[in-house]
Each structure stands twice: as structure tokens, then as C-alpha cells.
């Protein structure tokens, strides 16, 4: 039996929530990044599901854009993290608080 639209959307929301929670709570910067990716993927999943169930290809096309943007963002983000690690010797977010007053 094929899953209904609701199932896909619920899965997408669950993944998004997990990703968001991860960004809130985790201390490792790389893990936060992974959670960001998770949020992106969740949104992509929802888009694809809708396009499948509406019979159009609009959502499918979106996938390319989203994944391209995600890749570029990850590249930049990891570069920043590497630079930050070189400077501060840590990637624990609770130690990276030099912007505190």
C-alpha cells in the first residue's frame, strides 16, 4: 500500500522538528550543521511529496535547487568552522562565546 500524503508530510515535519531541536540543543558545531541539513532535507521531502500527489513536476525541480544551495552553504560553513577551529581550538558552541557582552 502506498503511503498517503499525510504520512509524507508528518514524516517531513518530524524530521524538521528533530533537526530544529538539534540546532537548539547540541553543542558540537558539526552536529548542528548536520541538523541544519536535516531541516533542509525535510523541507525537500515535503515538496517532492506534494509534487507527486499533485501530479506536477514543480516540486521535483525544486530538489535540484535546494540540494545545490545546501551544498554551497555546507562548503562555506565548513570553511568557517575550520577557520574557527584553527583560531579557537574548539568547536563546542558553549565555548565560542566571545560575542558575549
Amino acid at each position: 500500500m502506498t503511503p498517503s500524503l499525510d504520512a509524507y508530510v508528518m514524516l517531513s515535519s518530524a524530521l524538521f522538528a528533530i533537526g530544529f531541536l538539534g540546532v537548539l540543543v547540541r553543542r558540537n558545531t558539526l552536529v548542528i550543521f548536520m541538523c541544519l541539513e536535516l531541516m533542509l532535507v525535510a523541507a525537500t521531502l515535503a515538496l517532492v511529496a506534494f509534487s507527486r500527489f499533485n501530479g506536477t513536476e514543480d516540486g521535483d525541480v525544486f530538489v535540484f535547487f535546494i540540494l545545490t544551495v545546501a551544498a554551497a552553504e555546507v562548503a562555506v560553513g565548513l570553511a568557517i568552522i575550520v577557520a574557527l577551529f584553527r583560531l579557537r581550538q574548539t568547536i563546542q558552541v558553549d565555548r565560542l562565546n566571545s560575542m558575549r557582552h
Binding site: F20, V23, L24, V93, D94, L96, N97, M99, R100, H101
Partner: protein, 604 residues
């Protein structure tokens, strides 16, 4: 050259002279004095040309404008202004020439002559002013010039103190003056003298009395007369020009200018202030040792006469006495300057004596001046004082009796001065070796003596000053005889008593023979100063401390630093938001998203 141009150049020449001296000739005393004397000569010639040329005009230029309120600068040359301008010009020239000789050995000569030029500019500004605002501007400038010149020998603490005192006391009077000007503008819509003279004026008792406050300060009337005796700290030519003939007369001139605003009640107050001042100052003059202080009190007394004459209703009598007084008082001061210089800067009259034979020109000119001031028939002072006494006799017998008594005192202290300084034997070494000064000292004395002698025959003045002199009261029959008799009795009584009573040696005869009376007069003289001292030290100082407390604690503390502190607290609060932790910022994100969703869902 139109008369307007001539008037403008008379006004601006001394300013140019002062500017030149200040900017270029600060060290060149000789050249500075020459520039200043040339300017004074130009002013004198210009003034006499304008006066006797007969042109009378007003000219006005708008200077500042705030909506419907405009301040104009202008020239009003009528008979009154022409007369005053001539006096300022002639006496100014005499004083400038005298200063050439008197200040020859002074190191700061250039600064002195610069100050004299600034004074001439300010004084001519007052004379020519056609509205009260402009007059006030130059009034303050004259006050500044007086401060500057009294303070000429600035290394002396007494001179600095005297200059400050003069300026501050004048300021007190000027406060009233300014209030009067503002009130006049508010009531009448204008402060232009021409417009006030022509149009309908709102009469009030307050406006003329407030304006009179300015004259009280500037012309050293009770209770603001305390600055003038101290102002004798300045060089003697300064005393002659500023504190005898011209600046202090500016108060009288201003009163004559605002004659149109007067009401009877104000006139009565003015008359009595003048009369009491005349009496008080005459009493103070009797016990003075310093030759210049005697003349200072004499000036205050004579100014009281002029103020009383104005208060009794006659601009003519006041201006006539102002004219004759300018001549003989300037002569008295310049003569005393000659005496002081001859005795090598000795000012105590009890160390002089016997100068009659040693300084003949000074002696004879001084004698003419003394005769003029005490009212010797035929000389200038006789006619002008007579006019005032006639006026008083016809209008206010009480004032008449006080003024007549004051005339006795005037004769008394002037003859005392004359006798002790010139007759008898020299009381000290400097007096023994006294000698006449050069031509620059004696020529002005002779000129002023001539004017003191003939200046009283006002009908002989060319038609130029008719507007003023036609108002001099003429006495008929019985009044004339009574007043004439009074004048002669007063003259003989005062002069005769002084001549007989005072011995020319052994110090002050009054002090020796009636120490009680001497002490009483001395206390009278210092009573005002003591009173003001007490007021400033006790009352004013306490008020100042209270205000200081309010300023430091209230304004600086609570308002300024308090506001700063409150802002700082607010800043602390905002700063607490910057935790530096990423998770905090993400929570804020979440919050923002929730709010947006709420808006979108219609909940908010």
C-alpha cells in the same frame, strides 16, 4: 559730503583710530598718541561744523529683523545732539592734548590712547543714537571704556577693584534701564526717539523711572554713586573726560532725550533723587584729603543739580548746567592733573600749598574754574546755577532750600580746596619744587578757562542750540531778585567761611577743631560702601550658596547624572541579551517564527 556722511565719519573716526592703535601701534606710544589726537581734532572740527552748519536731520538703517521686531541703527541730529556733540568734541580734544603731556612718560601710552579713542566712539554713539536700543549698546560700550581706562595702571590692585566696582554698579543701573526699554517697546511698539516724540505715547509711571535707573547708575546718583570716587584711580585726564564732563553727563543727556515719556510723579521722584544726591555728595566732599576725590564728590553733587533741574521740568536748565559744568569741571580736573604732575604725583592736598607762585597758569585757570563752580557772578556757573535755582524757587520750595544750602557747601569745600592747595606755604618737598608743565598741559587749561568764563552767556551762542537754550527759565521781577540775592548770600557765606576757617598748615582744620563733625561726615561718606559690603557678603553670598547647592545637587546631580544613570541601566538590561551562546539566539529565532505564524494564522 552730506551732513549724514560727516556725522558718520565723526562717529567712526575714533573707532578707526582705536583699531589702528590696537592692531599696529601697540608698542609705538608716540605714534599712537598722535593718531588719537588727530582723531580727536577731527571729531571736534566735525562736531562744530555739524552744530553751526545748521543741518538737523535723522537717518536710520535697519540692522536686525525678527519677524515684526526690528532693531535699527540711526543718527538723530537735533539741537540737543548738536550741543552735546560740541561739548564732547571740544572737551575731548582738550583732554587728548593734555594727555600728550601728562602721559608722556607712561609705558602703556598706546593702550591708553586706544582706550580714549574707544571711549570717544562710544560716547558719540550715545549722543547720535536715534533709538533706545542703539543708545543702550553704546551705553554699555561707554561702561566698558570706563572700566578699561580706570584700569590703566593694572598692576595696582586698587585700580582693578575700582574698575570692577564701576562696571558692576553701572550694570545694576543698566538692568533697570533695559527693563525700561523693553517695557517702552511693549507699551509703545517702538523705541525710536523720533517716533516717540511724534506719536502718541502710552504714559506710565514705571517706564520713565526704570529708564531713570540707567541715569542713576551712569550719572552716579544716590544710591549708585559709590563707584565714582573710586574711579579716581584712573589717570587724571580720564577722570576729566569720562568722570566729569562726558560719560557721567550721558545720564542727563539720556533723560533729556526721553523727556517726552515723563509724567509728573516720575519727575518728582527724579527731582528729589537729584537734590538729595547733591546734598549728600557736598557733605562728603568737605572731609576729603585727595584732590581728585574732592572733585569727584563735587561732580556727583553737580550732577545732582542737573538731575534735579530735569526733574523740575526744564531740559534747558539741565543741559545749560551740563554745558557749563563740562567746561569748568574738566578744567578743575585738568588743573588738578597739572598740580599732581607738578608735585610729582602727590595727590594729598595737605602736602601741597603755596602753588600760587610756583604754577601761575594752573593757579589762575583753576581759580577761574573755582569761581565758576561756586557761582561768582559773570562766570558760566553763576548763570546755569541761577537758572536751576529760579526753576526750583518757582516749582518746589523745599528743593530750592536744599539746593541753596548745597550751594553754600559747594562754595565751602571748593574754597577749602583752593586755599589749601594754592595759598599758604608748601607743606612738603615735592610742593616746594613744583613747576608748571609744558604747553600741552597749559593750553587746554587756558582754553577751558576761557569757556568757563564766557560760557554762561547763552544768548551769545549762535542760533545753533536754540532748541535747547530757549527752554532755559527766565525769571521775572521779584523771583529774579530773590534768587539773585540768595545766590550772592550763599556764595559769600560759603566762600567766606571756608577762607576764614581753614588754616593752610597743620592738617585739616575741621579734623583738629571738631573731630566729632569730621567723624560724622566721614561715616556718612562710607555708609553706602559699608551697606553694600554687608549686603554682598551676607545676603547675596547666602543666596549664591543656595543656588550653588541647587545647581550642584539638583541640576548636575539629579538631572544630568541621573538621566545618564537611567540610560546606563537601560543599557545594562539590553546588554544582558548578548549572551554569546548560539542556542540563545536560536531560541530567539523560534520565538520570532512563532510570532510570525501567529500573525499569519490570525491569532495576533
Amino acid at each position: 559730503m552730506t551732513p549724514t556722511h560727516i556725522a558718520l565719519s565723526v562717529l567712526l573716526a575714533p573707532l578707526a583710530s582705536a583699531a589702528l592703535i590696537t592692531l599696529l601701534l601697540g608698542r609705538r606710544g608716540g605714534l599712537a598718541s598722535a593718531v588719537s589726537v588727530v582723531a580727536a581734532l577731527f571729531i571736534a572740527c566735525g562736531a562744530l561744523w555739524l552744530a553751526f552748519g545748521g543741518d538737523r536731520f535723522t537717518a536710520s538703517w535697519e540692522w536686525l529683523r525678527f519677524g515684526s521686531f526690528a532693531v535699527a541703527l540711526g543718527i538723530k541730529l537735533d539741537d540737543l545732539a548738536a550741543l552735546m556733540l560740541s561739548i564732547v568734541g571740544v572737551v575731548g580734544l582738550c583732554v587728548h592734548v593734555f594727555s600728550l603731556g601728562y602721559m608722556r612718560d607712561d609705558a602703556a601710552r598706546a593702550r591708553y590712547f586706544g582706550g580714549l579713542s574707544v571711549f570717544m566712539f562710544s560716547m558719540i554713539g550715545i549722543v547720535l543714537a536715534d533709538n533706545l536700543f542703539m543708545m543702550f549698546i553704546f551705553w554699555e560700550l561707554v561702561g566698558f571704556s570706563s572700566y578699561f581706562l580706570i584700569n590703566h595702571w593694572r598692576e595696582l590692585a586698587s585700580a582693578s577693584d575700582a574698575a570692577k566696582k564701576a562696571f558692576i554698579v553701572n550694570r545694576v543701573g543698566d538692568f533697570g534701564f533695559l527693563l525700561g526699554i523693553i517695557l517702552c517697546y511693549w507699551a509703545n511698539g517702538t523705541v525710536s526717539l523720533s517716533e516717540l516724540g511724534a506719536g502718541h505715547v502710552v504714559y506710565s509711571r514705571l517706564i520713565p523711572l526704570l529708564l531713570f535707573c540707567g541715569a542713576i547708575g551712569k550719572s552716579a546718583q544716590l544710591p549708585l554713586q559709590v563707584w565714582l570716587p573710586d574711579a579716581m584711580e584712573g589717570p587724571t585726564p580720564v577722570s576729566a573726560l569720562i568722570h566729569a564732563a562726558t560719560m557721567v553727563a550721558a545720564g542727563i543727556y539720556m533723560l533729556c532725550r526721553i523727556d517726552v515719556l515723563m509724567v509728573p510723579q516720575a519727575r518728582t521722584v527724579i527731582a528729589w533723587v537729584g537734590t538729595l544726591t547733591a546734598l549728600y555728595a557736598a557733605m562728603c566732599a568737605i572731609t576729603q584729603r585727595d584732590i581728585k576725590k574732592v572733585l569727584a564728590y563735587s561732580t556727583i553733587s553737580q550732577l545732582g543739580y542737573m538731575v534735579a533741574a530735569f526733574g523740575l521740568g526744564s531740559v534747558g536748565a539741565a543741559m545749560f548746567h551740563l554745558t557749563t559744568h563740562a567746561f569748568f569741571k574738566a578744567l578743575l580736573f585738568l588743573g588738578s592733573g597739572s598740580v599732581i604732575l607738578g608735585c610729582h604725583h602727590e595727590q594729598d592736598i595737605f602736602r601741597m600749598g603755596g602753588l600760587r607762585s610756583r604754577m601761575p597758569v594752573t593757579f589762575w585757570t583753576f581759580t577761574i574754574a573755582v569761581a565758576a563752580i561756586i557761582g561768582m557772578p559773570g562766570l558760566a556757573g553763576f548763570f546755569s546755577k541761577d537758572a536751576i535755582l529760579v526753576l526750583a524757587f518757582e516749582n518746589n520750595r523745599a528743593v530750592f532750600s536744599v539746593l541753596a544750602f548745597t550751594a553754600i557747601l559747594t562754595a565751602f569745600y571748593m574754597i577749602r580746596l583752593w586755599k589749601i592747595v594754592f595759598l599758604g606755604e608748601p607743606a612738603g618737598e615735592p610742593a616746594r619744587h613744583a613747576h608748571e608743565g609744558g604747553i600741552s598741559l597749559t593750553a587746554p587749561l587756558v582754553l577751558l578757562a576761557a569757556l568757563s568764563a564766557v560760557g554762561g552767556y547763552w544768548r551769545a551762542y549762535p542760533r545753533a542750540f536754540d532748541g535747547v537754550f530757549s527752554q532755559i527759565p527766565e525769571a521775572g521781577g521779584a523771583t529774579h531778585a530773590i534768587v539773585l540775592a540768595t545766590s550772592l548770600v550763599v556764595l559769600v557765606a560759603g566762600a567766606g567761611t571756608a577762607l576764614a576757617y581753614y588754616a593752610t598748615d597743620g592738617g585739616d582744620t575741621l579734623e583738629r577743631r571738631s573731630p566729632g563733625a569730621f567723624r560724622f561726615l566721614g561715616a556718612l561718606r562710607s555708609s553706602f560702601d559699608t551697606g553694600y559690603d554687608f549686603y554682598v557678603a551676607e545676603v547675596q553670598q547666602r543666596a549664591a550658596l543656595v543656588l550653588n547647592f541647587i545647581d550642584v545637587v539638583g541640576l548636575s546631580g539629579i538631572v544630568v547624572r541621573g538621566l545618564a544613570g537611567a540610560t546606563e541601566m537601560f543599557g545594562f538590561g539590553i546588554r544582558a541579551l548578548h549572551t554569546g551562546r548560539l542556542s540563545t539566539y536560536v531560541y530567539w529565532f523560534l520565538g520570532g517564527v512563532v510570532v510570525l505564524w501567529a500573525f499569519a494564522a490570525g491569532v495576533l
